[in-house]
Amino acid sequence: MAIVLDGTTGISAPALTGLIDAANLTGVIAAAQITGALNASGSAPVFTCRAWVNFNGTGTIAIRASGNVSSITDYGVGMYRLNFTTAMPDANYAVIGSPSKPSVSSWVYWAQPRMPSEILAESVVIQTGYVSGTNAGNYNATQDLSDISVAIFR
């Protein structure tokens, strides 16, 4: 039966049952095809990012882009909680924090989980700041940063 478009009676088409059921899809997408599509060579398994966010932590704090993050909670200077839209299976995930330097300098800027007890399946608290070897009397501190990226792997 062909698909028929009729301005009076509408659209008629053959039943799709059996065309796209699980049995017909089995074997269509092989593991090698998935890793190939991801440009992943070799036999090592691929684990994808489960949540990520890029945000401005200064001034009017704003999320530039994100995935599986429902919100950021601003707790104070250099402290932000990432709330996941869909929770992780547990709290044993990897947190990758990467702030950009706000200016050209030899200082080291960091973004990391504040403490183990604040790594939860639903959220994680990130603290940001710097370490300076040149600023006498002010060698390290918590600080708002303008370009913070965090990724979660599990």
Binding site: T60, N68, V69, S70, S71, T73, D74, N83, S117, L120
Partner: protein
């Protein structure tokens, strides 16, 4: 989003939630991401100071937090 959610932590400090474009409404995000039992208020982003010089000294009157109560998605605050 042009909205923010504010609530008071149990230590008296002010928390500000910045919603992401995640498919949830601001009300759904508030119910999910405000800690359990804490009252909150949904405000315009323009109501939040952009000058964070005194960020850790921000205060909010409890009587202003009238838009709802946090749900049970979070285990700490």
């Amino acid at each position: 989003m042009s909205k923010r959610i504010i609530y008071k932590n149990t230590d008296g400090t002010v928390a500000v939630i910045i919603p992401a474009d995640c498919g949830l409404t601001i009300e759904q995000i508030a119910a999910k991401d405000v800690p359990t039992g804490l009252p909150y208020k949904i405000v315009d982003v323009s109501d939040i100071p952009s000058d964070r010089t005194e960020r850790d000294a921000w205060m909010i009157d409890d009587t202003e937090l009238t838009d709802g109560i946090g749900g049970d998605s979070n285990e700490f605050n």
